[in-house]
Symmetry: C2
Subunit: 196 residues, 2 copies
């Protein structure tokens, strides 16, 4: 039988990563997030920080900046190579064990049922709640919360749309979408664990 | 204290109305749906069938067809009048009692917290599951399921967007979005009741 995977897509500052970890703890399964990045780094030979920047937040191909990106003989950019490496790793993990995977477009990558029996979750919250949370979790920076949120949202949405051909945050792509701002982190963890 | 209202927006054929009724039964509160239409009819003097057509499925203003719609001296079309009547009725209901309200843009109408403490739900399912369900629930018609679904989806989305200035089905507008096709009707009822 296929492993059971929970994929969590999340708006920046919505607490999606915390929810993913708590769900995994509750169910006694593993949560892949930074670990996944490190695993990617080892396999690809790319340095850790570059992968973190390039894997989910980078503005993808087709844009002006991309014209200056290093390309290989086969026409693939570093980002495209990272996408392929990431896709393979996520599929390997899904074939190996039941787990939670946060971000990384895992929902779209595991869509085909042959890879896994997955529960696709999207976590969001309104602007004010997320602004409050990023200051609490990541601390203040020189950049105002509003700009930090808008910037990350925009990059995640563009990355997701480019590589999956879907609209990020469209309810139709997920089994369950939850507002962590109105429901609270603990209730989100309860619902997801219960649906597993 | 404000009454507690569950608003259910739903794709046609997703079982949202059934879910709404079952949630209401489980919680011992009332579910407003066809009843609401009848109430509107009484108040406005419009005939029942006209209201059903005009209230949620009608293609709203700004379109060519609208140029031929009857208008009053104040520039309002029948549809605009219906929108105002509907808005007032939903607010009255929310002030009167805790309940479930299916459709009718109730989520957006009750947004301002002064009206109610509301849990905003969106129910969806993929095309195949909904096509299966509409044949089971409403029977076969001369019009193929695909056309029936696409037509209703388009009308509901256009109506919602016109009167609320929001994108229908965007996860960010709801506290919880559920895929009734993958989760099943009963699990949706459980989750919503539990969140109440």
């Amino acid at each position: 039988m296929a492993n059971r995977i929970i994929t969590i897509s999340r708006q920046f500052g919505s607490g999606g990563r915390t929810i993913g970890r708590n769900v995994a703890d509750k169910l006694g399964i593993k949560c892949y997030d930074q670990e996944l990045i490190i695993k990617m780094a080892e396999q690809s030979g790319f340095c850790h920080d570059y992968i973190k920047e390039g894997s989910e937040y980078a503005v993808p191909g087709g844009w002006l900046a991309n014209a200056f990106v290093a390309r290989y003989a086969n026409g693939m950019s570093n980002q495209d190579r990272l996408w392929i490496i990431q896709t393979n790793i996520i599929r390997e993990i899904a074939q190996k064990e039941s787990c939670v995977i946060v971000g990384r477009c895992a929902d779209a990558i595991l869509e085909k049922e042959e890879y896994a029996d997955s529960l696709k979750v999207f976590i969001h919250a309104n602007f004010e709640k997320r602004a409050e949370r990023i200051v609490k979790v990541y601390g203040e920076t020189d950049v105002p919360s509003e700009k930090r949120l808008k910037d990350k949202d925009k990059r995640r949405a563009a990355y997701y749309q480019f590589y999956t051909d879907r609209k990020w945050g469209d309810a139709a792509h997920y089994d369950v979408c939850l507002d962590s701002g109105t429901l609270g982190i603990d209730k989100c963890v309860d619902i997801i664990s219960q649906l597993y």
